[in-house]
Amino acid sequence: MGVVAATTLASGVEFVEALTIVLAMGTTRGWRSTWAGVGAALVALALITALAGYALQSWLPEALLQLVVGTLLLIFGLQWLRKAILRAAGLKALHDEEDAFASEVRAAREAGDERRLGLDWFAFVVSFKGVFLEGLEIVFIVITFGLNADSIALATLGAAIGGAIVLAAGFALHKPLARVPENTIKFAVGLLLSTFGTFWAVEGLGWFAPDDASLSWPGGDLALPVLLGLWCALAVATVRLLSPRAHEVG
């Protein structure tokens, strides 16, 4: 059940960010166009995930699939990890949902009143983009945790639980969920995405070998905890090196 808890937590962070955008649009510009944007994003997400998942699984050999998914996870994970390290070292502002909410509300009030297809176009587009982007990140999380635990179904269940908890809490409180420790959770997810991304991308290099078989890591799956340890060590060392105290002249 660890995979359900991990996916609930990791995807919950993304749901919190999407909720902030949706709440800002709904309360400022009206709910009809906001819900239309949310609905359109969910349909687009479902279509893209189903099509991409089917195409990848049906047409790509295993090693090439590992290379493609691993490379995407790695690029994505390194972006998260870099931001998390910079935030922990005080070089980048911590993500704050109340600030994000205030900034979305300001943008919504200043935006024009363009109407298309009978909808408030600003509310529709902002809700669509917010939910679609955060939703794609949840898809990445579900793939990573699901493949690792050999159960995409359990990972999907975890993401659904995360979504249900965040939505219930958000709409009960009717304000952004600022107390969720987003920066810490994102740090952990960045470490995991980088670890699995490295593992699969390297295994996938076997696609270039004459026999088309995945490369083997020294120690097989035991390389995973070693890689995680290396990424953790790199993160801790860079945060210590870059944090202000390291630069105080003694």
């Binding site: 690029i75 972006q79 870099r82 070089l91 390297v202 290099l205 270039f208 083997s216 790199l234 870059l242």
Partner: protein, 73 residues
């Protein structure tokens, strides 16, 4: 046309993000790993270790560049 360029822009922003060096570095390191697989008889363990070290260097380079930009070498 506008839709296509917007679509391409969206995926570029999503995958490459705000530091193109990470994506470029990862692709270059994996291409190096692929060359080792194709052009040498290096054992899997050596290719995996060298590629992983290359990826760690990409991460360090990207963090160092961001820190220097923020004024903290």
């Amino acid at each position: 046309m506008r839709f296509l360029s917007g679509f391409a822009r969206f995926w570029w922003d999503f995958i490459v993000g705000d530091d193109w060096r990470i994506a470029a570095g990862v692709v270059v390191v994996l291409a190096g790993g692929a060359l080792l697989v194709v052009g040498t008889a290096a054992p899997d363990g050596l290719v995996a270790t060298l590629t992983a070290l290359g990826i760690l260097l990409v991460a360090i380079g990207s963090i160092a560049a961001a820190a220097m930009k923020a004024g903290r070498p």
